[in-house]
Each structure stands twice: as C-alpha cells, then as structure tokens.
Amino acid sequence: MNIDGITNGLVIDHIEAGKGMELYNALHLGDLKCSVALIKNVNSHKMGKKDIIKVDEVIDLDLNVLGFIDPNITVNTIKNNERIGKSHIELPKEVKNIIKCRNPRCITSTEQELPHIFKLTDEQKRTYRCLYCETKYSQN
C-alpha cells in the first residue's frame, strides 16, 4: 500500500499499533482542512507493527497529548521534501483537560468548570493522579 510522501508537513511515527485513531481524535486532526493519513499496522523492524499519521501541513501539535498517550512516539517535520526536525516526546509532568477524573467523590464531579488536571506521580509506571483527589488514572 502506498501513501504519497509529503512536501511540507508532519509525520507522527512509532505510534503503538492500534493507538493511531486515539491519537487522531485526541489531537483533533479531523478538524484540519489539509490531507491527513492514518496508516495502521505498518511493518516495523523495531516494533513489529506500528501506526503512522501523516499531516500535509506543519501544524502546532500538543506534545503533552502525544507524550501522555505514548512517550515513544516521534514527530518528524518535513519542509520542501526534507526532514528538518525530529522530536522525541517526553512524558508530560502534568496534563490538563486531556483526561477526566472518574472518581464520583472528586470535586470535579460536581464543579463542571474546574479544569481536569493530572500529575505524573510515577514516571516508570506512567502513573497519573488527579490533582484534587489523587485518584489514579486508569484507561479502563
């Protein structure tokens, strides 16, 4: 399967296979007017399978969102067909309004206008806890 190369834009690479759509939605790529390609299950030497997203325009990405979803992702910036930059993502120390606290006893459950803030409390285990009630964020 061939996807055209891009002249000016971004290649978000090394996305864990299956997480491409989550990232697409979290970065609101569906709102963009330019071409966006989400390629799933690409063969990879390092990862076995991976997802890749290509964006046909250089846009500002929320690196905190990327880092929170998967800190192993890389972002390549392409200008005039050449790669001019490669960013390695770090696990963000804090994420704001990316995930929501699900603890029904948390103050955010009744005060809707409070920002949902999570702090990184264990880098190795990638543990995030709600700033207010300290409940651990879990995907399920």
């Binding site: 603890n103 006893r105 103050i107 005060e111 409070l114 264990d122 207010y132 009630c133 409940t135």
Partner: protein, 304 residues
C-alpha cells in the same frame, strides 16, 4: 500562600516545630491568649462535623481570635449552586484564615487556589484530614516522648480509614517504625498504600487477623471502627465484629506502656471498661487536637 491540605506538605522539621509550640501552649496557655487578637477564623463546614468544628473554633477563641462560618451546606450559598471558588473568594474578604470541611475530595485544594488567605483542610470526604494526623502525632509524642523507633498497630477498618492512611504516610518518614496491620481480609490496607508507601520505603510491616496475638509487641494500638455497611453480608459482619472490639481481656498480654488511640467517634469497638485504663489516650487526642490546631493557626498566620 500558607495552606495545609495534605499532611505530607509539612516536613518532619515543621511537624516537630508545631509539636513544640503545641506543647508550650499546653504548659503556658496564658502566653497565647491574645496571639490572634483581631484575627478571624472562618469555619466553612459543608457537611456536619461537630467535634472538628468545635476544636477549630475553640482553638481560635483560646488564641483571642474570633470565629465566623457555617456548619452545613444548607446554610451556605452552596445550596444555591455557588462554586467553592466563589464562596472562598467572598469569605477571603472577611476572614484571615479558613478551616474547610467538604464531602468532595479536593475541595479544600480548590479553595486554597482562590481564597487569597490560608486554608486548612478540615477533612475532604475519605481523602485527607491532616489536622487529625497532627493531633495523633502530638499524642504519640506526648505519650512516648518520641516519634521514631515505635511499633504501631492499626486495628479494624484499614481499607477505608483515611486517618489510618494519613498517619501511616506521616509516620513512615521517621526512623525505626514498624507497622502491624490488624484487620479482616475484607478491610485490609489497600495495596497502593502498601506498595507506594511501605514497600517503596522499605518499612517493615506485618498483616494479621488476630488482635490478641499481635498485642504483646505493640507500643501503640490505633483502633478504628468496623462499620457494618462495609461488608457484603450481615453474616460476615456478625462473625467478625467482636474480634475487633478492644476490651480488658484482650489487653492482658499488652505492654504496660502501651498507648491506645482512636480518632473517635467510638461506637462499640473499644469497651467503656477500657476508658479508665491509664493506657487509654483517645480522649487526650481530642484535647491535643485543639492545641495542635492553635499552633497551626499561628504558623499559617505567620504569628510567632
């Protein structure tokens, strides 16, 4: 801004200093009766808690200050839908310091971000209750003369008891502490407390269901209430409840210098026959709570 939302915000040095001031207040109360003259404490209690509120209010009155506030959310504008942030912004225009009790976890932290004056967490749901922990630490210091080299037994509901988690966190920072965790399987200490506090810091602990067998090694026995609603069926509750009631028979093998503590209110988990035992310290905890709150109010208001 000076606030106290979580006990771990205080260093052990700061806790030592608070205990020192509280002990001085106990010894020389007259030196403190005008320390907070012209200062006002607002007690914002969004859920009822008579003992904690009275303790804070008495603490402020004994420092010569004044008290305003409300004792349940029906008498505040929260019942009209006002946010915590707006309520404390308004109160910040009247008072010098706030003590807040709220059923929602994290509400006092939100308050501290908006009040413009110091905020003390007087209990936020099942989350934190740092001044109870300070009262516990002062009691241990008064009774034992130290906060290190102690074997501390916790008995009863170790799963939901915030006072237990908070005191374990606070005491884990001292040398030579060992914990004995006495509870039924249904109410064991949550694994995140064991993993993130005890195992991570290499603090020795043992878990047992047998209160009487654990008794001889304890320097401190911290009792909590086993509540009926924590059990899936009444049969289990009835089977277990008596195992965790402290009575003179269970104290037969206890040390002579044991200190018996309880955050109160007690229902039946400590028999009244234990109250006259010189090792019972649970009513002293109440008294100590007022003195440590006096020391805390002074610290947060920057009063020497």
């Amino acid at each position: 801004m000076n606030n106290l939302i979580d006990i771990l915000e205080l260093s052990t040095e700061e806790i030592d200093k608070l205990i020192e001031v509280a002990q001085d207040i106990m010894a020389h109360p007259d030196n403190y009766y005008e320390k907070c003259k012209n200062k006002k404490l607002a007690t914002l209690f969004f859920e009822p808690s008579t003992r904690t509120r009275l303790s804070f209010e008495t603490a402020m009155l004994d420092l010569g200050g004044k008290v305003i506030g409300f004792s349940d959310s029906n008498s505040s504008s929260a019942s009209k839908g006002e946010s915590v942030a707006d309520t404390v912004r308004v109160v910040g225009c009247y008072a010098d310091i706030i003590a807040m009790r709220h059923p929602k976890e994290g509400a006092p932290l939100v308050a501290s971000m908006h009040a413009g004056i110091p905020v003390i967490n007087a209990g936020d749901g099942g989350h934190n209750h740092p001044t109870q922990t300070l009262a516990d630490l002062l009691t241990i210091k008064n009774e034992k003369g130290r906060l290190n080299n102690l074997t501390v037994g916790f008995c009863g509901d170790l799963k939901f008891g915030r006072t237990v988690h908070s005191l374990i966190n606070a005491m884990s920072r001292y040398e030579g502490i060992k914990f004995v965790l006495i509870s039924p399987d249904e109410l064991k200490l949550p694994s995140y407390v064991k993993n993130e506090t005890l195992r991570e810091k290499g603090i020795p602990f043992e878990e047992t269901k047998d209160l009487a067998a654990a008794m001889p090694q304890l320097d401190i026995l911290y009792m909590t209430r086993v509540q009926k609603e924590r059990f899936f069926n009444e049969e289990d509750y009835i089977r277990l409840k008596d195992s965790y009631i402290l009575n003179p028979e269970k104290l037969v093998n206890a040390r002579e210098d044991l200190t018996i503590m309880h955050p109160l209110p007690r229902v039946n988990e400590i028999s009244v026959a234990v109250d006259d035992d010189p090792r019972a310290a649970y009513f002293k905890q109440v008294k100590n709570g007022k003195f440590i709150r006096m020391a805390l109010i002074m610290k947060l208001l920057g009063i020497e």
